[in-house]
Symmetry: C3
Subunit: 156 residues, 3 copies
């Protein structure tokens, strides 16, 4: 099957990924907002077993664990995107990620942490997953989460 | 009067909000730039009585004061948007906010601070104000401001 | 020659700027992604003589050096944009910059550092270079770079 005709849900199943139910919208904002063909997803914080995945890279978490957290955020972003679009096969491009890594002033591997999200997207979307991104270290994240990522996607 | 026909300036008056004059454009950049129907507003720093609203959450400022500062930034953003569009009734959607909270490495309530902006937008724009957002803690903000927020809006 | 007909490459030559070859795309993401007429450039970290330009504003680097680093990043962004578009004269607008300055919790001149990028863009693109922007201080940047900047541009 050629990449362009790959069904995204088949691909998720091949990868053993089950999308969670999308996060509940908060009172004063929403998890996704669309303008034209562009869908903006809110910053999603890392969760593990349904609870906030807390920690600070360079202090309480290592790069590999941070990378696993970034991968988990990417799966949650796809769940929200699925919930927004209705069918992930209608996503024509993952355009951009912004990845915020809860970091000490000394930790400098935010790019390696963020690869956990970028690689997951490449695995799921192939060429349609080729995205621009920024990754950097922030002083803190809501609820003490170790990673927060927002996404821009293009849809049909 | 139904929400879709609500005049935004009437709504601002009901809320007792008077828009300030928009900030002066700096030399090398502008406070707003439009591409197609998308208006990008520059990061606006918090001000109080015309001066920079300084402080760091978790050290010199509490969450409630930070929330008030975020609300003030949202009003300044609307002033810039009014100045850009000419008529806020032509805004079809507040699409996204990015909220930077000047935080110690321990402060974890950036989402509550940012609600000050999100709630103001919901009050003014109703359904048209349903926006995606990211909120996180940064090491510092220009001139020591406690909050900085940028906005993306969709216009007719 | 009027500003609207100015050839961007002539302007770069007048300014004595030689564009480097664009950065190599990393495995899991790309340096630029386009959706419609909008090109999103990945966050570019500061480099000097081909190596990462490391340092933290407020500790190991002063504002003037940070400003020079931001100018260098802007040139690298133009190189990537040239590589993406093929002809910088097809850029109709530099729409937005987001500038991350590696800062101590005390450094508050991120706007002055970022002017190094904004002024370069104004010099090269004139009116087409009038961009919105956000600038703020972050805890760290990949590989310890002193500045990271991402860009949104509109193309024909």
């Amino acid at each position: 099957m050629s990449e362009t005709t790959l069904n995204i849900y088949d691909r998720l199943e091949q990868l053993g990924i089950e999308l969670p139910s999308a996060g509940a919208p908060a009172a004063a904002y929403v998890m996704s907002a669309q303008s034209g063909k562009t869908v903006y997803l809110s910053g999603h914080i890392a969760k593990r077993s349904g609870a906030v995945w807390t920690g600070k890279l360079g202090a309480t978490l290592g790069t590999e664990e941070g990378k696993a957290a970034a991968r988990a955020v990417a799966i949650d972003l796809l769940a929200t995107l699925h919930n927004h679009v209705g069918d992930l096969n209608h996503v024509t491009r993952i355009v951009k990620l912004m990845s915020l890594v809860n970091s000490t002033p000394e930790f400098t591997e935010q790019h390696l942490v963020t690869n956990g999200a970028s690689e997951l997207i490449a695995e799921v979307f192939g060429e349609r997953g080729q995205h621009a991104r920024s990754a950097f270290g922030v002083a803190q994240i809501p609820l003490g989460a170790c990673v927060e990522i927002e996404m821009i996607a293009e849809v049909k």
